[in-house]
Symmetry: C2
Subunit: 173 residues, 2 copies
């Protein structure tokens, strides 16, 4: 597997006078130096994540879905017959916080809570027809606008490598 360089390979050289040569008159208004910050994985990780979420919101704006809501719809589609605790926990959402989230989706008629007959404590979650339709449209927007842009920026091979490493971190770190 090969990764083509997406940009200049890290720091090219130590390089003395990094400060942009002062434009006449300006005493000291060069760009700040990130220093070790650019080597901090967590820093780049967070900034990249914010950008990606921001773009996701833009791309799927016509459907008014947040990344979290989209992930819930995806999970409900792939895993019918599950209850709130199961869906919430696999997404890393705490049950108390999942209630309001489901209220929102249910009030928009995207999914339904159904009291289970086996265990009358739990609510089985199901996508409505509208929920399936919205999910389908969302998937298309995400694939053709959002992920396509990332593919264009990184290249398919790099994107796959990136995804693999992120999954590794999320799983084993």
């Amino acid at each position: 597997m090969t990764v083509s360089k997406t940009a200049s390979a890290a720091a090219a050289k130590p390089s003395r006078a990094v400060r942009k040569e002062p434009a006449e008159g300006s005493v000291d208004d060069a760009a700040l130096q990130l220093g070790e910050l650019s080597e901090l994985l967590g820093y780049s990780l967070k900034r990249a994540q914010l950008r990606v979420f921001e773009d996701f919101l833009r791309c799927v704006a016509p459907l008014q879905l947040t990344p979290a809501q989209f992930s819930v719809l995806l999970l409900l589609d792939r895993n019918p017959g599950r209850n709130q605790t199961e869906i919430a926990s696999t997404l890393g959402i705490l049950r108390p916080n999942f209630v309001a989230m489901l209220d929102g989706l249910e009030s928009r008629d995207l999914c339904t809570r159904i009291r289970s007959t086996n265990d009358r404590r739990s609510h089985i979650l199901m996508l409505t027809d509208k929920g399936r339709a919205v999910l389908a449209r969302a998937k298309k927007l995400v694939a053709t606008k959002h992920e396509a842009r990332l593919n264009e920026l990184l290249g398919p091979a790099n994107r796959a490598a990136l995804l693999d490493m992120l999954a590794t971190i999320a799983r084993e770190f």
Copy 2:
């Protein structure tokens, strides 16, 4: 540049019956299917970011520094003589929110606000001696415990490639 596989390369095969073969007695308690979620870059991005921040906090716990506070100290060290607006904006922090953050650091005697003589509106930010000492210890902890673990998990080459791609996204996406 080469990326060695950190884990099984994405989805090996479509594979029919994905559901774990039901253990006797259990009706339906297999692990949920993530489905397209595992192909969503934003999803893995956020989960990885949460893990990395979590580990950062653990590693630097003896110094009681959050990732954001650490990034501020780093920036102050590399860019002496800057004011609050400059430091905050390069970190993506809004000025109003930066006030309380600086209050915290200043009350712990890690940095100081100094009224500028050139422009008496602005506060020049400086690390105190204690701030420099804490930063030095934090850097050591981050390098030897936090980043070292990531290096071990991914390998130096992969880690560099990951960092490069994240920086590319943060810069050009």
